[in-house]
């Protein structure tokens, strides 16, 4: 395992492991929403007519518009990942900002949609709603729970995007300190900086016997990108965002369209 200095840099970088971890998280999300979809299916089965009537009271246009917004935001998210993979940092930032704004537009629509319903007295446990048939009460309960939980996921995604804008946008320098045991391993050898395509970017003089500590400072954004940690973060955020999109792809027809 004593593979000289690249050990130190490599240990922060396991993109496949990071993606596996993200997917595992996404599967728990699928099961979370899956349970709610199961509830929906059971009650649709029990109260088909009331579900159809309640669904007809939702605004199909806003639902369709939000679908288009979210699908487009998925496109800009994947374009952002693609841009960063191609080392176009500014383009990646631009697409990420557009994705963020589309997420915000989705939430604004959702706000007006919910406000209109609440204005008409239709919200969980409201006096107005409780006079409706049982099936409609359940339909709106599921509607608020599922689109609410989905909306919360959109908010979380947008917060993560703000972090990413900072991570990708800032020009950070990386400091690597080697001393004691670490330093003993590389005495007499050189430290070299290797790029992603295995090209040697820089190489130091051999580490002499007298040195007690080596500080390596790598400045600028290029190194950050080349180490790929931002790409991994952005890819995983993308995965999350696309899953939120997929959930909406199912929510839209089930809540807005079954009555048409």
């Amino acid at each position: 395992m004593s593979q000289s200095t690249d050990l130190v840099l490599e240990k922060h970088f396991d993109p496949i492991g990071a993606r596996v971890g993200m997917w595992l998280f996404l599967f728990t999300e699928l099961l979370l929403f899956g349970g709610l979809f199961l509830l929906y299916a059971i009650y649709l089965n029990k109260y088909p007519d009331e579900f159809h009537y309640a669904s007809s009271q939702l605004d199909q246009f806003v639902g369709a518009l939000n679908t288009i917004i979210l699908l487009t935001s998925s496109l800009t998210m994947v374009l952002s990942v693609g841009a960063l993979q191609r080392k176009s940092r500014n383009l990646a930032l631009l697409f990420l900002v557009i994705t963020f704004l589309l997420g915000a537009a989705f939430l604004v629509n959702k706000y007006f949609e919910w406000s209109a319903k609440i204005h008409h007295g239709i919200y969980p446990n409201s006096a107005e709603l409780l006079q409706h048939p049982q099936g409609e009460i359940i339909f709106y309960g599921l509607y608020y729970t599922m689109t609410g939980l989905h909306g919360l996921h959109v908010v979380v995604g947008m917060v993560i995007m703000i972090f990413l804008l900072v991570f990708i946008g800032r020009k950070k320098s990386t400091l690597l300190t080697m001393s004691h045991g670490n330093l003993e391993k590389i005495r007499g050898k050189n430290i070299s900086l290797i790029g992603p395509k295995n090209q040697k970017i820089w190489q130091s003089e051999p580490i002499s016997e007298e040195l007690q500590e080596v500080k390596l400072v790598v400045k600028g954004v290029v190194t950050q990108e080349k180490m790929g940690s931002n790409i991994v973060k952005l890819e995983n955020t993308g995965l999350y965002w696309h899953l939120v999109d997929i959930i909406w792809i199912f929510l839209f027809p089930l809540f807005y369209l079954i009555a048409m």
Binding site: V20, W23, N45, V78, G238, H242, I249, P253, L257
Partner: protein
């Protein structure tokens, strides 16, 4: 240890835009089919189209098509679990 497959193979912007267009067309199709008044078939059609849209998102936007079999197998296990849970619940409510 090999470090070869650490970076994704790059997928062209054009491919992403084509997938997005397909998703928009399928959204239009979902709305159209819902307007046809197909009764019980409507929900089956809606879920079928949504499933197809999800496949496009999974394969292209989420790069599943280009990942190793591990990722797909994990997804199958999850979907299988969901199908079992939903299937068993429906056998319960339909034979009460």
């Amino acid at each position: 240890m090999e470090h070869k497959h650490e970076e994704h193979q790059l997928i062209s912007y054009g491919t992403y835009i084509m997938v997005w267009l397909a998703l928009l067309i399928l959204t239009g199709l979902t709305v159209t089919v819902a307007g046809l008044n197909l009764k019980n078939f409507a929900i089956v059609a809606a879920i079928f189209i949504a499933g197809f849209k999800s496949m496009l998102v999974l394969n292209y936007f989420m790069h599943l098509k280009f990942e190793s079999a591990l990722f797909r197998n994990m997804l199958y296990i999850t979907l299988f679990t969901l199908v079992v849970i939903i299937g068993l619940t429906f056998t319960d409510i339909s034979f009460r």
